[in-house]
Symmetry: C4
């Protein structure tokens, strides 16, 4: 039996306010989704323009695989196409997108198209990673205001980096996902922790 | 129908304590106002010398367009003239002034009279901004203890920068505004986030 | 009529937990006092070895001008002599001592015996300061484990810097005071804010 | 009379959530134990894979000196061998292991096998330290995924540094302990404070 939209909407609202408290979704930034039903796909997703510190269940709508609203009122996030692309490519049960200070800074810090993190015990919090000797390579994609047009590019990048647990959008933030909301939330925390470690190290004279 | 002074005072007290919690209005710093009635103008504004962590409705007074107290007890903030100038110049419904660590640092970090922020997705949280390709230029004005004398200068600066969503006072903090309190609060968060990004980047060896 | 020891102890416990929450009195660090009666002097002060996150009224004792316990159980802070010296020299109603990260760092950052802060609007939160053009010079004293022996030195320093609103102990933290607890608490916040501004600026490539 | 497993489990859950709130045990990182009975040894310890922000008593199991589960369900932390080694070597009543940003950074910051902290008043929060003139030397051990094999090495290191109040695992985090949970919690705060001081100082141009 599938969870109802209402149940999932309540969980997304909790996670949204949690991310706001952490400073990862200030103002109206960030958007969050979770699969309610796989076939046919029903995805609960935050609507546009909501202050994430005030996020409630009624700010969540249910959409189908084409982004059409099935239930609830409000416009789905402009990045719904991205969420749908990730759900499709990764068989994800939940997709979380945050705008933190450190992810914003690191998305600009590497000249090439990815950020590499390796050697940290905390990497073991990522799905399927069993050792600190893991090398996580997060693709960095250019920002755009037309995610419908950019969705195929994102699908290509996801296909080319099958092992990546997330990606960064330049000057914008992080996308990560998981088989369910608990896993996706854990991965946000793991990646944000590692971003802070890497960002702070770059501020140190002995380290570049 | 206009909201009553009491209602607006309660909202201002909530926002003041929120800013205190964030570290943007420590001690008695910061002041906050919102329009109760447009014609004739009635502005609810915080009084002087109140610990913002303890801000309550009764610390808010209503003033007229000349800064005279219409309702409540206490002295309006010494910067009331500034709030009135902003309400007049921008047809603002709310004006928020905070003293954060990052706005203080950045107000001193540029030799010329402004701080430019561009290329970040978070800029879309500012009123009327629809793309990260936006270039926000915040004027920086010199600090003074005589805002009555300085108000015409502020009005000139606001007129010369019609697109600016706020301004900085050197060594002092940020002024921003919005059509209502929710918009002004969102803009504080957006700008403070961007200040932190810019401030932290300047601390990095690879970035100046 | 004087407030009772119990009332003041409750206020000190509130401030202690607040400082713990801010990260200014972690573990058993920090100590706090307030005058209950001026003549003969009765000072309520925190006892030694208490986790400041768990501080309660019964962890506060009342002492006389010689540091003898008048009421309550437990050993007064080893720095009680310092509190008494400040109460005497400054006619203070409350003395607060915190160990923050930034005050610790800045206490080591200047080769000579003081830290100077000037030009910030936030300085106006200090007692009697009416303009950002104020120049605050905080003496820095060497740390010791024998404050009974060092008390005369502290009294000398306080006499030589009659305008100082606090002083730093090297590698240790801040002492500030006020006519009452509310003023002393406000000054802690003001000074900690300014320490953070100065500390962060020193981390920046463009600034020395 | 010994405390029951349930009582200790509740205390460990409180400390785990506290560490999560501080950012020292994000995601499923960190593990915590406390002795319930000395002879024969019964150790209450967190199980694997639990989100520390959601830690409850039923996520704690009791194990014997060989790491066999005596009570409760779930797999003890993979680092249980390490906890047992510390309890044995130090006669500790509680062992806490956290993954903070600063401990992670500092564990990589020194080329040799230890981190030295000296001259800070805050050191007095460590068990048995009575002066800021104390020199704390924390061994840094290489990370591994086989703590059963590494336990003898840890015991050797603990024996060679009888005065150390904790140790760091490279790229991983801090282990500290105490005669009881209150002391171990205090030491976590003391050491994390000192790590932040040292880490921030290294970010400053005037300091390396």
């Amino acid at each position: 039996m599938n969870p109802t939209v209402e149940t999932v909407a309540g969980q997304l609202a909790d996670i949204g306010r949690h991310c706001y408290e952490r400073g990862w979704a200030l103002g109206t930034s960030g958007n969050f989704s979770a699969v309610v039903r796989q076939k046919p796909l029903t995805l609960a997703i935050t609507t546009s323009g909501v202050d994430k510190g005030l996020l409630e269940s009624h700010h969540i709508v249910a959409i189908d695989e084409h982004g059409q609203v099935l239930q609830g009122s409000g416009t789905p996030s402009a990045e719904a196409t991205l969420h749908l692309a990730i759900v499709r490519s990764r068989s994800a049960g939940a997709v979380l997108h945050t705008h933190s200070v450190w992810s914003t800074i690191l998305s600009e810090a590497t000249p090439d198209g990815s950020l590499t993190i390796e050697g940290y015990e905390m990497l073991k919090g990522l799905d399927g990673v069993g050792t600190h000797e893991h090398r996580e390579r997060l693709p960095i994609v250019e920002n755009t205001q037309n995610w419908t047009a950019a969705a195929p590019l994102i699908e290509t990048i996801l296909r080319e980096h099958p092992e990546a647990h997330g990606f960064l959008i330049r000057g914008h933030g992080l996308y990560t996902w998981g088989k369910d909301l608990a896993e996706a939330k854990r991965q946000i925390e793991i990646l944000e922790f590692l971003f802070e470690v890497m960002g702070r190290k770059r501020g140190m004279a002995w380290q570049q």
